[in-house]
């Protein structure tokens, strides 16, 4: 059976490494994207089951990316989980209004990270 695909849009290399490591060790397939343009393209090409989206990104920020994904046919229903610093989490409503399904606060806690994502898979029984 094919392992589940998660697209991670994150510009910080160390953070990408950490999330990649944690997700892969739980058996997921990780697709990396370092910015919004690449991320949206990869979402269309790879059709991941979940998108992890950093909010603090250069050029196009997370709010904008979430908005574009929600308006792009074919990828508009993929759950988006925003990864954000606390001040940004204060903007929880803004994040959700932009189209995110949920959000995870930074710093990422390795012990709980994967379990925060798991409930958002579209259909858990098929894993």
């Amino acid at each position: 059976m094919m392992s589940r695909k998660i697209l991670v849009i994150e510009d910080n290399e160390q953070n990408m490494y950490l999330m990649h490591f944690l997700l892969e060790s739980h058996g997921y397939t990780v697709i990396e994207a370092e910015n919004g343009h690449i991320g949206i393209q990869k979402a269309i090409d790879e059709n991941p089951e979940i998108i992890l989206l950093d909010i603090q990104l250069p050029e196009m920020d997370g709010y904008e990316i979430a908005g574009i994904i929600r308006k792009t046919p074919g990828i508009d229903t993929i759950p988006i989980i925003a990864v954000t610093s606390y001040a940004m989490a204060g903007d929880k409503e803004r994040i959700l209004a932009a189209g995110a399904t949920d959000y995870i606060e930074k710093p990422i806690n390795p012990a709980t990270f994967v379990s925060q994502i798991a409930p958002h898979f579209p259909d858990r029984d098929q894993s």
Partner: protein, 378 residues
């Protein structure tokens, strides 16, 4: 019964005519003594009611003429005056043979009663001659002059008082105009509806625009408005015609060619067929500048907020890595490192709280100043 009314004021003649005809008298009215004598020659007159202060021949002269003329001296003569009200005037009138002396205004019913009493008397008794002291020419002239001069003095004093009041009130309006804090300009609206010449301007206007008062009166509105503003004249005019008032932020052009931002309040008014516009302009250079500075400050706050958020994010990224390394490590220092990570995170959390407060301050500033757009790109 014919009543001859002599009064130079149309309204007084009109009132007497209405009153007397209402009681069944027929009325002939004239404006002065000369006309009255003409009428006496051609009409049968039963009663004379005369004002005293009249052009050409006054009431006193007329009374003397009438009472010294055997043809007319039986006609009852009533003085009806508002100006000659003193006892001396009354005595002089009586000495001329006047039958009654009534001071204006008198209650109409009372007035009619006096007339009725007078004309119901047997003609022989009311010739007034029992009171008449036929004065010699010199005596008459001297007394008449005294009465006239006295009256003239009263009139002059009254005139002086009215003039003084007028000057006072004019000065008050002038002060209001000159000492206003705003520039005030009165300009004409041409018959074709264009903004025309400046007719009046106060000192503040001169100061604001850099022209002397006389220079301003040679200008048209288009010469003190920027081209950008005068391009909107047709719109201004139609708004003014519709609402009479118009308030907007505009620009004036000074003599030196500087553009001054102003808040303009214009009011259209009409006098006969002429139309004018009263314009009150407030210099809002300072207000505009303050607003610009406020926007700059808000942009700076935004920039700082962004920096704090970015730095927080950048510090938290390695904290995640450190935490994950500790997870797999059996080193006895593990907990010490994790505590240090949490402490660093709590510092960033304090920065975050500060950001949230700054954001609130920014939003309040935007709201109370009514600013909706402030970014350079917006």
């Amino acid at each position: 019964m014919n009543v001859l009314v002599i009064d130079d004021q149309f309204i007084n003649r009109y009132l007497l005519e209405k009153l007397l005809t209402g009681y069944g008298y027929s009325v002939i009215s004239v404006e002065d003594g000369v006309e009255a004598l003409e009428k006496l020659k051609t009409e049968k007159i039963d009663l004379i009611i005369s004002d005293i202060l009249l052009p050409r021949m006054d009431g006193f002269q007329l009374c003397r003429e009438v009472k010294q003329n055997p043809e007319y001296n039986k006609i009852p003569f009533i003085f009806y005056t508002a100006a000659y009200t003193e006892q001396k005037d009354r005595e002089f009138a009586e000495s001329l043979g006047a039958d009654r002396f009534i001071v204006k205004p008198t209650d109409p019913t009372e007035f009619i009663t006096i007339i009725r009493d007078l004309v119901q008397d047997i003609p022989e008794e009311l010739s007034g001659t029992h009171k008449t002291i036929i004065l010699g020419e010199n005596e008459y002239l001297s007394e008449h002059n005294k009465r006239l001069i006295h009256q003239l003095e009263k009139k002059l004093t009254e005139l002086e008082r009215v003039n003084k009041a007028l000057r006072m009130s004019e000065k008050r309006y002038k002060d209001l105009f000159e000492y206003a804090n705003d520039a005030i300009i009165l300009h004409e609206i041409t018959p074709t509806g264009e903004f025309g010449r400046i007719l009046e301007a106060n000192g503040v206007a001169s100061e604001l625009l850099g022209y002397s008062h006389d220079e301003l009166l040679l200008k048209t509105m288009a010469e003190i408005d920027t081209a950008k503003q005068s391009a909107h004249y047709p719109e201004f005019m139609s708004s003014l015609q519709m609402k009479k008032n118009l308030t907007f932020e505009g620009e004036h052009l000074t003599k030196e060619g500087n553009v001054i931002p102003v808040e303009i309040s214009a009011h259209l008014y009409e006098e006969n067929v002429n139309r004018f516009c009263l314009v009150i302009c407030r210099d809002i250079t300072f207000r505009k500048r303050a607003r610009g500075e406020l926007k700059q400050a808000i942009i700076q706050i935004d920039e700082n907020l962004h920096q704090i958020a970015t730095i927080g994010d950048e510090i938290r990224n390695p904290l995640s890595i450190i935490m994950s390394c500790c997870e797999d490590c059996e080193n006895c220092q593990k907990n010490t490192v994790l505590d240090a990570v949490l402490e660093i995170d709590s510092f960033i959390r304090r920065l975050d709280l500060g950001s949230i407060d700054s954001e609130k301050v920014r939003n309040v500033l935007l709201r109370i100043n009514g600013i909706k757009k402030y970014r350079i790109d917006e």
